[in-house]
Amino acid sequence: MPDELLHLPLIHSILAREKDTPGALLPILHAIQQDIGFVPDAAVPEIAHALNLSLAEVRGVISFYHDFRTTAPARHTLRLCRAESCQSRGAEALAAQLRDQLALDDHGTSADGAISLRPVYCLGACACSPALELDGQLHARLTPERLRALVNGCLEGETC
């Protein structure tokens, strides 16, 4: 993808800064994703070269960790906690409500690129379950109404 090549200067500057850090691969991938929004395929050979790794080793790490994305994210990312504590406070019903409202599955992204759903297993808000994280912001003691309002905010205002 030619567009991805536009990211190369940024990738090179991250590599120049981090490549001598011990165990540099995760910090590098986090830095790239932080700046670009995802880890573009064009970054893989550059990282492999800088760290003296094989392409397979770099791809293996990217695919092993749930956090790393290889495509651009939606404008909003909603991560509903599905772990035991939140399940005991109705998280499964909230997940069903989300699927219903957005006509998406648990990992789905809306066709217009407005919102992505991602399950997450524990946000550390277990004493105030159920919880979710929307664009990095934690929300706890969720109710069906509050969840609907948060999603509507994403779909309408595009700033939430």
Partner: protein, 519 residues
């Protein structure tokens, strides 16, 4: 001037603490009232969050849970009769939930500002480090051994033995690694401590580094805790400026520095060897032991790996002495444990007590039963790999050995409570599904067993045939056995706990009669 304390803890903020602080500032300005709002850590009384505290002649008066809309009335009450306000809780220190606790690790929770060195020092901070600097490293290790401190991450291995092993591992590069990949559902003590009292963890790691001869420490924090990562980074900079980190730590003549490393959403990286692989920049694949990380850990070098709470216990042991610490607890479970009450519970929060109180005291006494008001069905103790304990076993003392004896574990001290609407067969299936999703794939019982286990649970629930049901239940128990004894690490090994306990105590949820389950 009115002095008000509002937590800056991420969960307090997730239920509106920022909005309350903003409303208070705005309303005070409108009334031309001088107000000093301090953002402290959280007390851990989460059902009362946002908990607003105000200075008074007797001590801090509490109000909670406060919403932004409550602020004008709250200011009215503060000007007149504070105790008449509907949300008034009286003196915070006198709230029974808090007063009856034995807070050592969380002594500063809700009291101090997380990034204030002055607050930290004024409340006993760095007393342990001062003492450690005056001692020889071997004496520090001896104090940790004598205290009886065991690893708080779940395995409960005697901490002092690890310290001695790393210290005796010869000269050369060594590391201290803090496992802050708190992925277990129902646990949040590490998060609270890192967000709320970062200097305590830093102090514990410095003492560890000086004692075992390591000059570099890493804190591996899960990416789901962005606030903890930010606070730690800021705390490092403050500690460095004050001479607590760097080439000459606190006048000891030894070097020690710290770095945060951020996880990337893999639950297995909470396992210590997978965590080390991840720190090295690899996939989080579990290593076989031996070699022990204490001898060949990070980058193949001697490494002291401990959970947040283990390292944070060390300054107290040094400051007050091993005997002081050892006097808390029972049997071989010594010291205090921050238990975490979560799930369907009325009074969710953090309860730091000496080991030995019963699960019933914790869940019914502190927790006040279920939040839904429905009958209590079970409590899962120790995270997603912990057993579901039925109320008939709630009189078991919270002690590592007592829990092990009933086929359960204390783990990291998380307790998730469920009411009678939660189906235990689906929770057993969930445990296996979670294992299938998060397994690193290195060993067969965990990688394959988890998926086969889901299929067995599905068949067991679906069948109406007596013989088939019997066969599938037998197969599930057999599979649990294989996973428990044949897996390389606790991920596969302990996934059997929630499954086997659900099957044993709640056979009806699987469509089994009690006689079938007993067979």
């Amino acid at each position: 001037m009115l002095k008000v304390y509002i937590p800056c803890d991420s969960v307090a903020r997730a239920v509106g603490a920022d909005q309350v602080a903003e409303a208070l500032q705005r309303e005070a300005e409108r009334r031309q009232l001088a107000v000093d709002i301090q953002r402290t850590s959280s007390r851990g009384l989460y059902w009362l969050e946002p908990l607003v505290e105000c200075d008074s002649a007797q001590g801090r008066q509490g109000f909670g849970p406060v919403t932004a809309d409550d602020v004008p009335a709250l200011l009215d009450a503060l000007a007149g009769q504070p105790q008449a306000h509907g949300l008034a809780l009286g003196l915070v220190e006198d709230i029974a939930y808090l007063k009856s606790q034995q807070r050592l690790l969380f002594a500063r929770a809700g009291v101090t500002r997380p990034l204030s060195l002055d607050d930290y020092r004024a409340h006993g901070g760095f007393a342990g480090l001062e003492r450690a600097v005056a001692l020889d490293g071997a004496e520090v290790v001896a104090a940790v051994l004598d205290s009886g401190l065991r690893g708080r991450g779940g395995a409960a291995f005697p901490a002092g033995i690890k310290w001695r092993t790393v210290r005796d591992a010869g000269a050369g590069q060594k590391y201290v690694v803090c496992n802050a990949d708190e992925g277990d559902s129902g646990t949040f003590a590490d998060r609270m401590l890192m967000e709320g009292d970062p200097f305590l963890l830093i102090e514990g790691m410095i003492i560890a580094g000086l004692a075992v001869g390591a000059d570099k420490g890493y804190i591996y924090v899960r990416s789901e805790y962005p606030d903890a990562i930010r606070v730690l980074d800021q705390a490092f900079a403050i500690a460095r400026d004050a001479g607590y980190l760097g080439d000459d730590v606190a006048g000891s003549g030894q070097a020690f520095d710290l770095e945060v490393r951020v996880g990337a959403g893999a639950y297995i990286c909470g396992e210590e060897t997978a965590l080390l692989e991840s720190l090295e920049g690899k996939r989080g694949i579990v290593r076989a032991k031996p070699p022990l990380p204490a001898l060949q850990g990070l980058f193949g070098l001697p490494t002291l790996v401990h959970n947040v709470l283990t390292l944070a216990s060390v300054p107290i042991i040094l400051a007050k002495g091993a005997a002081f610490y050892r006097d808390f607890g029972m049997g071989r479970s010594l010291g205090t444990m921050p238990f975490q009450l979560a799930g369907n519970i009325r009074h969710g929060g953090l309860v730091e007590r000496a080991f030995g109180l019963t699960l019933r005291e914790l869940v019914e006494g502190y927790g006040g039963g279920t939040a839904s008001g429905r009958p209590l069905k079970a409590a899962q103790v120790g995270g997603p790999l912990g057993a579901w304990v039925p109320p008939s076993h709630f009189d078991t003392p919270l002690d590592y050995e007592a829990f092990a004896a009933m086929g359960a574990m204390l783990g990291h001290g998380g307790v998730v409570v469920a009411d009678d609407t939660l189906n235990m067969a689906s929770m057993a299936r969930f445990a296996l599904q979670f294992c299938a999703e998060e397994s690193c794939g290195k060993c067969t019982p965990c990688r394959i067993g988890s998926t086969r286990g889901m299929e067995v649970v599905d068949r067991l629930i679906a069948t109406t045939d007596f013989t088939e049901r019997h066969d599938q239940a037998l197969l599930l128990r057999d599979l649990c056995d294989t996973m428990q004894y044949g897996s390389l690490c606790a991920m596969g090994g302990m996934t059997a706990y929630p499954v086997a306990s659900a099957l044993k105590y709640f056979p009806a949820d699987f469509g089994l009669t009690h006689t079938e389950a007993a067979q």
